[in-house]
Symmetry: C2
Subunit: 158 residues, 2 copies
């Protein structure tokens, strides 16, 4: 028999969201305070820095962003001259995006900060706790990809 109330503080979806929100908000200093980037812009930069050249669609897949977010982030980074677009030879709908020198410089500057952030975050935990969060997140990620809870259609984001 269901008890009639839900304890929000123990409700996993809520806890997860609150935690992610707090962490993300804190991390956003790295890109927001320093360069005035939004999260989609940061992710775009990170994707291109990591992979070299990508299309907008690929970016959306890699960094779990809606295509409109990608589109807008790309436009802004282009405006800053942090990336350039080059047309695809075979398919004229596609554009290949690449960081410019300036974009790459910003990326290179941020990478160590990002890593330091993650390191410091994990440093607060014991070895077991680190293992727990990392493998717990991995497990849920893996299961979420497959079928969505209580629903029979897949949540595509782009």
């Amino acid at each position: 028999m269901e008890p009639e109330t839900l304890e929000l503080e123990s409700f996993l979806p809520y806890r997860l969201y609150r935690l992610a929100d707090a962490v993300s908000r804190e991390f956003s200093r790295v890109y927001k305070d320093r360069h005035g980037l939004t999260r989609p812009e940061w992710r775009t930069l990170a994707g291109l820095g990591q992979h070299g050249t990508m299309t907008a669609t690929e970016l959306g897949e890699q960094s779990a962003m809606h295509k409109t977010k990608v589109s807008r982030a790309v436009a802004e980074l282009e405006r800053r001259r942090w990336l350039v677009r080059t047309a695809d030879e075979n398919d004229r709908r596609v554009e290949h995006l690449t960081l410019t020198k300036a974009g790459l410089a910003a990326y290179r500057e941020m990478v160590p900060l990002a890593k330091a952030f993650e390191r410091e975050l994990l440093a607060r935990l014991s070895a077991e706790e680190r293992t727990a969060i990392i493998s717990g997140v991995a497990a849920l990620e893996a299961r979420l990809g497959q079928a969505e809870v209580g629903a029979n259609h897949i949540e595509r984001k782009n």
Copy 2:
């Protein structure tokens, strides 16, 4: 020596955010599809359902929402006649919020759905994985409350 790139897929802040976003988005069906509630509205309902009567400030603390979100959510639930405000006797700035019969009915309807969602979500994991995610989240939550990573001021949300 730092490698010069960051692997986004393994970066904890990103993974956490993406996971929370996916879970939350999926869970939002429960309140969005059924009743057209927003997340702040759902949280407000959940807070009041759980605690009976609360002030807006208390709601913000309990459910980690900015005061403007609380204010707007309360206004909307009031418009629906799912809650009522009663003035505080001693402090006329304060309002005590309570669910009406209709609000309580909606809450009671959603509680089992929320619990089922969480149950099904966790059911996909092995016992060890469940322990991992739950204790990992708890550990990070606990450490985050204390001092923020790489910054020396506290992130208050209300």
